[in-house]
Amino acid sequence: MARPAVILVGADKGGVGKTTVARTLIDYFGAHQTPTRAFDTESPRGTLKRFHPELTEVVDVTSVSDQMKIFDTLGSAEAKVTVIDVRAGLLSSTLQALTDIGFLESAKKGQITFAVFHILGSSIASLEEIAETARVVGDANYFLVKNFINNTTFFEWDPATYNSYFKKIKGAEEITIPKLNEMAYEQVEVASVPFVSFVGNKGPKGEPANYSFVLRGYVRHWLGNVWGEFDRVKLVDLVSPKMESNVRQVAG
């Protein structure tokens, strides 16, 4: 039985594109034939659930019963990878809860693969957040994600300040999500389908759709770049060490 993997996607504030990153992760594992499930903590709305209804369950990560739903099923669930989209501002408290239930302890012992995708906002506050989460996470695989999807002039920090925080986390890796054309992004939103379905010109139920070829092309190109970043940090090896990681073809 392969070791279950938990990926936490979080940020200290809203609007930095957590859910977008979670969606690219789900698509990525899907393309690698890795069974994946997802939890959306943005109850009751659930943006992630809108795009991946079959895989996603909306939960309240602070409630004990929902914590059981997520963590007690890690070993028994069919999905090897669990992606948790943590609502804005809940990253620290979620990590605290994970410490309390001994989850981080089992991750440390190697019974569970644990990774954190920390999506960075543009303000300095999110840098201080890094320091705080780093303290809790310790040995987890820590990815700092610079999300440029909606904005090209996002990061205007002093590199020295940034690096001083960045270095605090042992083995932290940086991931860059490139910009996607606004209209292409918007159309995927409107269609409410996974990026892969949009590229493959398919609707929510797999039926043929009629998206603009140009927009599909832009999304395919962009998704290829994002997955390139995931390849670079060897994400597939991380969650399932024995898997072949040469699936490179986006649908279509």
Binding site: E182, M183, A184, V214, G217, Y218, R220
Partner: protein, 240 residues
């Protein structure tokens, strides 16, 4: 795949090398062959192609996303229309970089639409580089160098290697001096059999233009065969 369902892009990073004339000739050739034709004018400034083919020409732009959608989405749609693009030199780089990024040639091939690029050659380094670049970026397209013989006999063959070692360049012969004024004043169509009446062309001029046209059309037919051949080769390679 052949000209029947194709997108031909007439391109060069240089201006005043005969792109629009070539686009007109190609569009009129298709009309003469009885194929439905749509042309796209991607020139800033004067809309020469639109003046000669007003009913068939769409003035297009790729500067913004709306223009790109209007253009590319139509290029791969309605497969039974032959499409010719007159790509102005100022749009050369942006057109091909968008086409490359969105995977235009592959998508077209999936829909059985052949993509051909007619590249007017000049001996300058910019053009040679641009040509080489197209070859590596658009392996799925038929890239045909065109020698406009008005620039003299030099062939630059060594600098413009042909993909797949095909039968050489497409030649655009020179029209006898003095006849340009007949064909360069709109309205004018090479496909119109009575073109003499339209511009009061003398009979000998008419005969000379027809002779010139026949030579060019022969080149186009050869190009059509090349597209077919490239497609056959690709499908054989695919099967083995």
């Amino acid at each position: 795949m052949s000209f029947q369902s194709s997108v031909t892009i007439v391109a060069s990073p240089r201006q005043r090398v005969g792109k629009t004339l070539l686009a007109r000739l190609l569009a009129d050739f298709h009309l003469q062959e009885g194929r439905p034709v749509a042309t796209f004018d991607l020139n800033a400034g004067e809309r020469t192609l639109a003046q000669f083919l007003p009913e068939r020409t769409t003035v297009a732009t790729i500067r913004d996303i709306n223009g790109q959608m209007a253009l590319f989405d139509r290029l791969i749609a309605d497969e039974n229309t032959t499409k010719v693009i007159d790509l102005g030199h100022e749009s050369f780089e942006s057109f091909f970089s968008v086409a490359h990024q969105i995977g235009f040639v592959d998508e077209a091939r999936q829909r059985s639409v052949a993509v051909a690029i007619l590249f007017t050659v000049t001996p300058d380094q910019t053009s040679i580089e641009a040509y080489r670049n197209l070859r590596s970026r658009f392996a799925g397209a038929t890239l045909a160098p065109v020698h406009n013989e008005i620039f003299g006999p030099a062939q630059h063959r060594d600098k413009y290697r042909l993909a797949g070692g095909g039968p050489g360049m497409v030649r655009l012969p020179v029209l006898a001096p003095g006849l340009r004024r007949y064909i360069d004043t709109p309205p004018f169509s090479f496909a119109d059999l009575n073109m003499g009446d339209a511009v009061r062309m003398p009979l000998d001029a008419h005969i000379e233009v027809q002779r010139w046209l026949r030579r060019i059309y022969l080149e186009f037919r050869e190009l059509d065969l090349r597209i077919l051949l490239a497609d056959l080769q690709a499908s054989i390679r695919f099967k083995t």
